[in-house]
């Protein structure tokens, strides 16, 4: 398995660097902290490749074993999480009963329903403002619940890219190397995913 990972400018750029040192030194609490931090994302990624949740759980478990076994070889040329997610995607791919699904790049679903524009491309049903409502903590929590659910309903590759970019905060370059997709595909998937989530929030706020 050789995966080219984008290089870090420095060790100190990696927020997980200190934890990794503690894991190496034998601190199980540090390991649990890492598991806690990355398991949900790993599950979401794995689910995109394998037939069911049980297999996804297995893949995640195997990934952590692989992570521990590879610890002494890890030189910190990429960030810990990029390395971790790469191990996961490789395992999930080999565990996946179905082949890597084709990228839904040909999917020309627009960001906004075309019926909301006139023939000149100008809004006829413009977006109703709602961003101010997010300042309210309770509303924000409720909406975060909707986003979480909607994220689960996104097509696999969109969900993966949105999870890695917007939840984990990976760079587009890191996402491309973890998922082995091109920069252009990455951006299309991100765009479709984010557009759908925005649409969902607009509908939810409109209902409230």
């Amino acid at each position: 398995m050789t995966v080219r990972l984008p290089a870090l400018k420095s060790h100190r750029d990696d927020p997980d660097g200190p934890l990794l040192q503690r894991v190496r030194a034998g601190d199980e609490q540090a390991f649990i902290t890492l598991v806690h931090r990355y398991r949900p994302t790993m599950l979401r990624l794995a689910e995109g490749y394998v037939p069911n949740q049980a297999v996804a759980e297995e893949v995640v478990q195997e990934t952590w074993m692989g992570f521990l076994r590879g610890l002494h070889r890890f030189e910190g040329r990429s960030s810990v999480r990029t390395w971790l997610f790469s191990i996961l995607v490789n395992r999930a791919r080999s565990a996946g009963a179905r082949e890597r699904r084709t990228l839904a790049i040909g999917d020309l679903e627009p960001a906004v329903d075309g019926a909301r524009f006139d023939t000149g491309g100008h809004w006829t049903v413009p977006p109703q403002p709602w961003t101010d409502l997010v300042d309210d903590r309770l509303t924000a929590e409720r909406m975060a619940g909707h986003v979480r659910a909607a994220l689960g309903d996104l097509p696999g590759r969109q969900r993966e890219v949105v999870t890695l970019r917007d939840i984990e905060g990976l760079s587009s370059q890191e996402v491309c190397s973890v998922l082995e997709i091109t920069e252009a595909n990455q951006r299309v998937l991100l765009h479709r995913g984010r557009s759908r989530l925005r649409q969902l929030l607009e509908s939810e706020f409109g209902r409230a």
Partner: protein, 91 residues
């Protein structure tokens, strides 16, 4: 007239603007394309609102926190780790 038409055809309309938001936020637009988009945004409150909503959506997504590990799973992972540590020690 021709010049006006030409300029108009290069202008971004709303339906195009909403497809450019991700490229824009990632800094992936060419400089002229970015300028055309920004010019459109300055004159279009709806698209400005739309872009604000996409930013807010990204912020909301970023707020999703990991689910807590169940005590049972936590034990399983501690176990996994301890076995690894023992293996390392004996290696």
């Amino acid at each position: 007239m021709m010049a006006l038409l030409h300029r108009r055809s290069r202008e971004v309309v709303c339906q195009q603007a909403v497809e450019l938001v991700t490229d824009y936020l990632d800094g992936a637009l060419s400089r002229p394309a970015r300028r055309r988009l920004e010019r459109h945004l300055r004159g279009c409150p709806h698209c400005t609102e739309y872009f604000a909503q996409v930013r807010a959506t990204i912020a909301m997504t970023g707020r999703i926190t990991p689910d807590d590990l169940s005590p049972q799973m936590r034990d399983e992972f501690v176990d996994l780790y301890l076995r690894w540590r023992e293996g390392e020690g004996s290696a």
